[in-house]
């Protein structure tokens, strides 16, 4: 099959300047990162060695894993050391999308057979994957000890990655909320469907009860076109601004269409950006990756020069589990 390279057109993909002013402010200080750095600046928690980005969705089936896996591949191709953690334990499928067949997964860590570093496998572009496994109890059913065991194992690997992407399960159970709340950056993937937007809003609302000044990055996935993506984001933004005024500042990270290429890449067990590198959806993901990379560079600068962000895993160990 021959594919004509789609030329990404930022003017076409992104919003008009007037629209951008509302919800696309990369230089804004109203971010969760700044808030966190203040909150923990006086506490003796280890500084972060890598940026942790949690990818979540209120509703299941939004294509969150597809976005996370392809984003990981694209960032790895940029030369970053990327660790993708499939935190949808027991129902994981990142490895399927990446075309990997892991011999072991986190269940081996929970049983004590393997360490976290022993289950990690290398994926496309050189990314590292912590496979979430299948056929055992999901995250919400794990006890403290097992989960802490995993967190400590991951903590040991923190200095081996530049960016750690955590692909979270859908929903707002307490474990997911804790994992989200500790993150340096949040990406919420939703579709333009009303129910999906409602659930994304519910997730954001829950987060505002735990943190202030949250700036989730929103990806509208499975949109028929840009117009629908923009309308969907604007709807989410307007309800958020009305009911969660001053607490949350959603940013439009990008949109991804649902088309044949996406479906085909999943079915062929290859990342979309590798299977169909020339297609429009790949171009959209590339723009999302470039924005994420830009934010990462900014994060590293802040970490180095101004703030000291706490380690995600240390934060989970010390703050969440009180160890």
């Amino acid at each position: 099959m021959s594919e004509e390279r789609y030329q990404p057109d930022e003017e076409n993909l992104f919003l008009d300047p007037e629209e951008v002013a509302d919800f696309e402010d990369f230089d804004s200080n109203e971010s969760k990162l700044t808030d966190d750095s203040k909150e923990y600046s006086s506490i003796e928690i280890q500084p972060a060695k890598s940026q942790v980005i949690c990818i979540a969705s209120g509703k299941g089936g939004t294509g969150k894993t597809m976005v996370a896996a392809n984003l990981a591949v694209l960032l790895a191709k940029q030369g970053l050391k990327v660790l993708l953690i499939d935190a949808d334990f027991g129902l994981a499928n990142s490895h399927l999308i990446l075309g990997l067949e892991p011999e072991h997964d986190v269940s081996s860590v929970f049983t004590g057979e393997k360490t976290v570093s022993e289950i990690i496998i290398e994926g496309p572009g050189g990314l590292k994957l912590v496979p979430g496994g299948s056929g055992f109890s999901e995250l919400a059913m794990l006890g403290d000890e097992k989960f802490l065991q995993l967190i400590k194992g991951l903590h040991e690997l923190e200095d081996k990655a530049d960016i750690i992407l955590v692909d979270l399960p859908a929903g707002i159970n307490p474990q997911v909320m804790c994992l989200l709340n500790a993150a340096h950056e949040l990406i919420i993937v939703t579709t333009p469907e009303v129910t999906s937007l409602v659930d994304a809003y519910a997730l954001i609302k829950s987060l505002t009860k735990m943190s202030e000044n949250i700036a989730p990055q929103i990806i509208i996935n499975r949109s028929k076109d840009k117009a629908r993506a923009i309308v969907a984001f604007q709807k989410l933004l307007s309800v958020t601004q009305k009911h969660l005024t001053g607490k949350v500042f959603p940013k439009f990270l990008g949109w991804v269409p649902q088309n044949w290429y996406v479906i085909n890449s999943v079915a062929s067990r290859k990342p979309l950006v590798n299977r169909h590198p020339q297609c429009f959806a790949t171009a959209c993901l590339e723009l999302i990756a470039s924005k994420t990379l830009k934010r990462h560079v900014k994060w590293v600068d802040q970490q180095t020069e101004t703030f000291v962000y706490p380690s995600y895993f240390a934060k989970l160990e010390h703050v969440v589990y009180g160890r």
């Binding site: 506490i43 009303v194 609302k205 629908r228 062929s268 429009f280 009180g322």
Partner: protein, 228 residues
């Protein structure tokens, strides 16, 4: 460690007139400890020196904290004229939320440490806590006249402080997990999402996502028993 502890009829170990340095050492040796009912003065002195303890308040100044921790509606608190009456009226709710926290928030403290110079206000809470499977200690600072603050400072000056605060815990993620009432969507919020939703998406002549769709018959994905 604290040899002066005595068991009251409520099985609360009352620690009275013990130097603060000993109290701090005791808390340091018991990492899973909850500090309840401390006054602002005590909090300023004890928390920085002890570090790893969880904090809930019981004095009127700390009602917001205790309500967050126990997932109670603040409206309950506003209606209560005093902490005494509030605790008495909400014993069943307190018990329920305590165990709910243990299960869903992995919150399982072993020891509760109550530090209060307002003894009377802490009594209902002590009564409640003594029914739980916890070691409950009640510390009553030495009071010289009415100047408790001065006295505490005098006592604590005998002990070198650790210096840094490991964990303030007011920002503890557990205490901030939202309650069901807090995160439940209102009808107004939901209806706004559905507003104009039916008319929002007319089909357009040109769909970006339809561009570049290849001939499907050439793809293996569409070959097979269900597509032949």
């Amino acid at each position: 460690m604290i040899s002066h502890a005595v068991h009251t009829k409520r099985a609360v170990k009352s620690i009275k007139n013990i130097p603060l340095s000993q109290v701090i050492a005791f808390i340091q040796e018991n990492p899973q400890i909850i500090d309840a009912g401390i006054t602002p003065v005590d909090r300023d002195l004890i928390i920085p020196s002890v570090g790893e303890i969880d904090l809930i308040g019981v004095s009127n100044n700390n009602l917001v904290m205790i309500s967050t921790f126990l997932e109670l509606n603040e409206e309950h608190l506003r209606r209560a004229p005093s902490i005494n009456q509030w605790v008495f009226e909400n014993i069943s709710v307190l018990k329920h939320t305590y165990f709910q926290n243990r299960i869903t928030h992995h919150f399982s403290p072993k020891t509760i440490f109550i530090c209060s110079r307002i003894n009377e206000s802490a009594e209902p809470l002590i009564q409640f806590l003594s029914d739980l499977p916890l070691e409950v200690y009640k510390y009553e600072p030495v009071v010289i006249g009415n100047n408790v603050s001065l006295n505490l400072k005098m006592v604590i000056n005998d002990t070198p402080l650790k210096g840094s605060c490991q964990k303030t815990n007011i920002n503890n993620i557990f205490t901030k997990l939202p309650s069901r009432e807090e995160i439940a969507l209102t009808e107004e919020e939901v209806s706004e999402f559905f507003e104009d939703a039916e008319d929002s998406f007319f089909p357009t002549q040109y769909e970006e996502s339809d561009a570049h769709v290849p001939a499907m018959e050439n793809e293996t994905f569409f070959k097979g028993p269900y597509f032949s």
